[in-house]
Amino acid sequence: MKHSSMSRTPIFCCLPALLLALLVGACGSEETPTNAVIPAATDAGSGDAATTDATPDAEQPPVEAGPPVRTVETRPRFGTLDPGNLLLDGDFELSGPDALQYPWFQFTAANVALGMQCHSGLRCAHLEPGELIAGVFMWPDGPVEAGFYARIQGKSCDS
């Protein structure tokens, strides 16, 4: 049995260098931009209109006062679905690591992050220091702007 891993030779053919969007789990360089990655949940989507359950269900009995134990949000379950996002799967919603090859290279089951920790939708990427994933996108006629949301987990980039 073989493992699905994007470190393998591309299946059926050689895939030319189109790894045009790189996310690298590292920091410490003076040239690191402010939104560089990091052990983090990253997501290249443009953000969702997540709904936070701020009020109790009308049928719920009165509750005792006290600090909240958790909050609840409702996210779009099909992701942001922005046709203008040139990445093949900028939301990470469709890159389930259950196939031979998918739009994020070096992305394994260990990189999958889920739920509220993601900026948009329900799936995003978690990178440990030094880890790299690469996404595929289509060049438009003009220049491109690349951006993503990321946050650091832990006290520093090295932890």
Binding site: R8, I11, R70, T74, R75, R77, A99, A109, M116, M138
Partner: protein, 684 residues
């Protein structure tokens, strides 16, 4: 599914109530405390160690957790190659229910129900509801499932399984609830493709029975999301679909199918139109797979078909002009419907089988097409799968191998006359490898050679049977080129070993009549034996949204010249160009397109087969909607030195040879015999 085997060893979830009101869901109070839906008929939060258990190599333990949604424990599940079932004791009446649960971790799950009598079963895959919590929970739910609690031996269970059986996964589950939703619908019969729409919304006719298909697809997006899904995938198909010729011929048809999604009224209709769009691109790298793996045919057919020459049954019915003769290549031991090797398939539902099958492109998830329209071996290989699911009858000519003769009339077999089998007893079918016989010893009796990814590959090498030691003719039978660049890969090692054996051979016969592709370095192991170095084409992955390919051959040639230095050089200066190499092809895709493409034209290479390879020169990207729906899109084409693009142009054999019915009845392999005869004439 292996996780069903452990059923019965687990504690049953208990019935807490029975109701028939519309479903809601568990809710949270202002502080975030969870409460089950009051209408739920089953609730469970795994508060006792009675939930500890194993199922195959997967296991679960109820453990204390500070973030338990309900109570103080959660069920922690380690998923390996086997899934994990959680039995559900459903109410005694008939009802329709939706399963909901909360999970931390990434795995597939859902609700499955079957019965002691074995012929009815339903599976519904779970999909996120969109609700998430700040402490990491994700809510999943299935589509509604009708459950007959009055039937004998109701076997209802929630199941969990790893996305990739090769990658163990750990998840936590809590707050499971089974909630009434909708009305119970019992079994109904239907005919063929259900043109009369007897099954109604959310159901499809398979094997003469209306099956609830809602759980095989993702949910229906809300109205606003539907529009966004359609717009998104129209853009993505336009941007990413790679084969240039098909962009001009099939892309518009696919877009029209996407447009039909906007008016869909249920999730089956909506996502069926999506899978139709994918199929209509007619590219072998481009296909969609709903969660149908659990849907076993009630009347399995353990026989394989291929294109041949029906020379022994022209008295029964003559060949049809422009359409292939279709023969039974081989069968398994049981469930053959009375068919035997050498029999002829004349019609399905009164039409030529190829004509009948091609109509399935709009409806059947089991149907897909190769790039080259003249490549029909793929449809031949699909026949047994689509017949058992969609046909009403087949018409055949029976033959007698002991006499070497065929009947002088046809026989029509109604599918309804075939005995149904228990879904749990569904047999493992023989592989359809287009090899009626084997020319090298040691080949598997079940014709399954594995694809090297989901199944270990079997690669058979040795002296060709019925040749002399003095002739020194070596043969190789294999299906996969998925070896990669690692010298430790078993496929790479086996092919390297075969080529080592070829060094002493005076002739070689390569039997790749079922070629699943793989990667270029692995194909080159064999190419390097027969060809000097050269660059046969350049791969051209689609990277620009406005790229419609070279405007003409000259522009294509310019591209080839510009990029050939960046592409693979195939072949070797150590090639044995004096040794005759016969390459047998029939069902060959992708890297298995590459192999004959690059071998063809070698000084001592000749290709034998009934028709072209699939003509899918490139690679693909795959997508998954939470494992409920998966699809793949071809993103690459190839450009030859003369500037032509290669996708849709399968590799034609040098010698077109089709298995003769008379040879099958006599125990002879027409293709092997023809190839071997040529090799013998060319021995150095």
């Amino acid at each position: 599914m292996s996780f069903f085997r452990a059923l019965g060893t687990l504690t049953l979830l208990s019935v807490s109530a029975l109701a028939a009101t519309p479903a809601r869901a568990g809710s949270f109070d202002a502080r975030g405390f969870f409460s089950f839906d009051k209408q739920a008929v089953i609730t469970e939060s795994f508060e006792t160690s009675s939930w500890d258990g194993t199922a195959g190599d997967s296991s679960a333990v109820a453990k204390a957790s500070a973030h338990a949604l309900d109570g103080k424990r959660v069920l922690s599940v380690d998923l390996k190659t086997d899934g994990y079932p959680i039995a559900l004791l459903v109410p005694a009446g008939r009802g329709s229910y939706r399963l909901r649960y909360w999970v931390q971790g990434d795995c597939e799950g859902g609700l499955a129900v079957d019965y002691a009598e074995g012929t009815r079963s339903t599976t519904s895959r779970a999909f996120p509801t969109g609700r998430v919590t700040s402490d990491g929970w994700l809510e999943m739910e299935t589509e509604p499932v009708s459950v007959d609690g009055t039937a004998q031996g109701v076997n209802a269970r929630m199941f969990l399984s790893a996305y990739d059986a090769n990658t163990p996964t750990s998840v936590e589950v809590d707050a499971v609830e089974l909630v009434p939703d909708g009305s119970y619908e019992g079994p109904r019969t239907c005919v063929g493709l259900d043109e009369a729409d007897d099954c109604g919304p959310g159901r499809v006719c398979l094997g003469g029975e209306c099956r609830d298909a809602r759980g095989w697809y993702p949910p229906l997006p809300d109205t606003a999301e539907r529009t966004k899904v359609v717009a998104y995938w129209k853009q993505k198909l336009h941007d990413t679909f790679g084969p240039y010729a098909l962009r001009h011929t099939t892309l518009s048809s696919a877009e029209a199918s996407l447009d039909k999604m906007s008016t869909a009224s249920d999730n089956v209709d909506f996502w069926s139109r999506f899978t139709e769009a994918i199929r209509r691109l007619s590219d072998a790298h481009t296909y969609a797979r709903p969660a149908l793996s659990d849907v076993k045919p009630r009347r399995p057919l353990d026989a394989c078909f291929f294109e041949g020459d029906a020379d022994a049954s022209q008295n029964a019915t003559p060949s049809q002009s422009g359409l292939p003769d279709i023969l039974v290549s081989h069968t398994g031991p049981d469930h053959t419907w009375g068919l035997k090797q050498g029999d002829r398939l004349v019609a399905v539902d009164g039409e030529h089988p190829l004509t009948w099958a091609r109509k399935l492109i709009g409806t059947s998830p089991w149907y897909w097409e190769a790039d080259d329209p003249d490549q029909i071996a793929n449809i031949m290989s699909l026949l047994r799968d689509v017949i058992v699911r969609h046909a009403k009858s087949i018409t055949v000519v029976h033959c007698d191998a002991s006499q070497g003769t065929c009947d002088d009339k046809t026989d029509t077999i109604e599918l309804s006359s075939i005995k149904e089998v228990d879904a749990a007893d569904s047999p493992a079918l023989v592989g359809c490898d287009n090899r009626p016989f084997y020319e090298v010893a040691g080949a598997p009796a079940d014709h399954r050679f594995g694809n090297g990814f989901y199944d270990p590959a079997i690669i058979v090498e040795g002296q060709v049977l019925d040749t002399t030691n003095a002739e020194e003719i070596q043969g190789l039978i294999w299906n996969t080129l998925l070896g990669g660049t690692s010298q430790n890969d078993p496929v790479t090692q086996a092919l390297d070993s075969a080529v080592q054996a070829f060094q002493q051979a005076r002739g070689v016969l390569l039997d790749h009549r079922e070629g699943h592709g793989g990667d270029a370095p692995t194909a080159n192991i064999l190419i390097s034996f027969a060809r000097k170095p050269y660059t046969p084409f350049i791969g051209y992955v689609r990277t620009r949204a406005n790229d419609e390919g070279p405007s003409d051959a000259a522009a294509g040639a310019d591209l080839f010249n510009r990029y050939q230095s960046q592409n693979d050089v195939f072949g070797s200066n150590k090639a044995h160009t004096d040794v005759p190499v016969a390459l047998l092809t029939t069902w060959d895709v992708s890297a298995s397109d590459y192999l004959p493409k690059i071998m063809k034209g070698g000084p001592k290479v000749r290709l034998f087969g009934p028709g072209p390879s699939m003509g899918a020169f490139g690679t693909f990207m795959q997508y998954s909607e939470w494992g409920v729906l998966r699809w793949s899109i071809g993103i690459e084409d190839a450009i030859a030195p003369d500037g032509t693009t290669l996708c849709t142009h399968g590799v034609d054999p040098d010698v077109v040879v089709k298995p003769k019915q008379s040879d099958l009845l006599a125990g002879r392999d027409t293709v092997v015999q023809t190839a071997l005869a040529w090799v013998r004439t060319e021995l150095p």
